[in-house]
């Protein structure tokens, strides 16, 4: 049985997750994945990232976001994996994967999961550099990205 939602305090292998997820969804024609990676802070010299979260609410928020995507698109599977705690540059922060009969549905659902994870799941990132620590600011673009899911679809 593949997992649907997974909150981790240590590293995971997105490739192994993709392989397991794909095997668990043999009826899907396509699988889309997104993997988020710790990159160097904009100022350079990132030592590590700390991700704080809200135990209890986090699990509920991830399950809710996943359920909304499954209700909106005909998915045969949807996976969310997210780390918290200390992460080094280059390490994987999180991934989502979606499986669907048609690729457009899998792509749209994966983008939807990402947009909601960015702004609606209770995680907060802090970057620690040689110059000190700073909380990552929410980007207006991330909040704006949610609006598109409330609009009617663009004509194809």
């Amino acid at each position: 049985m593949a997992r649907d939602i997974c909150l981790l305090d240590g590293p995971f292998d997105p490739g192994a997750e993709l392989t397991a997820f794909t095997a668990a969804n043999p009826g899907a024609g396509g699988v889309v994945s997104f993997t988020g990676i710790v990159r160097d802070a904009d100022t350079g010299g990132l030592q590590h990232m700390e991700i704080e979260h809200y135990p209890g609410m986090t699990e509920a928020a991830l399950a809710d976001i996943r359920a909304r995507a499954c209700a909106r698109w005909p998915l045969s599977g949807a996976l969310i994996v997210h780390r918290h705690g200390i992460l080094r540059p280059g390490e994987v922060i999180m991934m989502v994967a979606t499986a669907a009969r048609h690729r457009a549905d899998a792509f749209a659902a994966a983008e939807y999961l990402m947009d909601y994870l960015k702004s609606r799941a209770p995680f907060w990132k802090k970057e620690v550099t040689g110059n000190g620590a700073a909380w990552v600011s929410a980007r207006d673009a991330d909040e704006d990205a949610l609006d598109r899911w409330d609009r009617p679809a663009q004509p194809a």
Binding site: Y54, M57, A60, M94, K118, S119, P122, W124, W135, S137
Partner: protein, 89 residues
């Protein structure tokens, strides 16, 4: 329970709100009817709270682990969390 009555809430703080206040979690007995009133009451406590809670536009709240509006009702609530905009993903 009507909003006018005092109720005891678990208040949780996250990220820089937690750091500025210096506490992750506390119990508060309050008659605040909404998160907005609760935040105002907390901000009036001292400089640390005032500094953490000064900019309402930079704060988000969850009531019983559900993201909520600042003007939602606190009637029957048990847990209120106050935090900056989330940065997951």
């Amino acid at each position: 329970m009507t909003p006018e009555q005092d109720q005891t809430l678990d208040i949780l703080y996250f990220a820089w709100v937690r750091e500025r206040i210096g506490v992750a979690r506390e119990q508060v007995t309050t008659s605040a009817a909404t998160p907005r009133a609760l935040v105002a009451e907390l901000a009036a406590r001292d400089d640390r709270y005032a500094a953490a809670l000064a900019d309402l536009g930079a704060l988000r709240v969850a009531i019983d682990q559900t993201l909520s509006d600042l003007d939602a009702s606190l009637a029957g609530a048990r847990e209120v969390a106050i935090f900056p905009p989330m940065t997951g993903g």
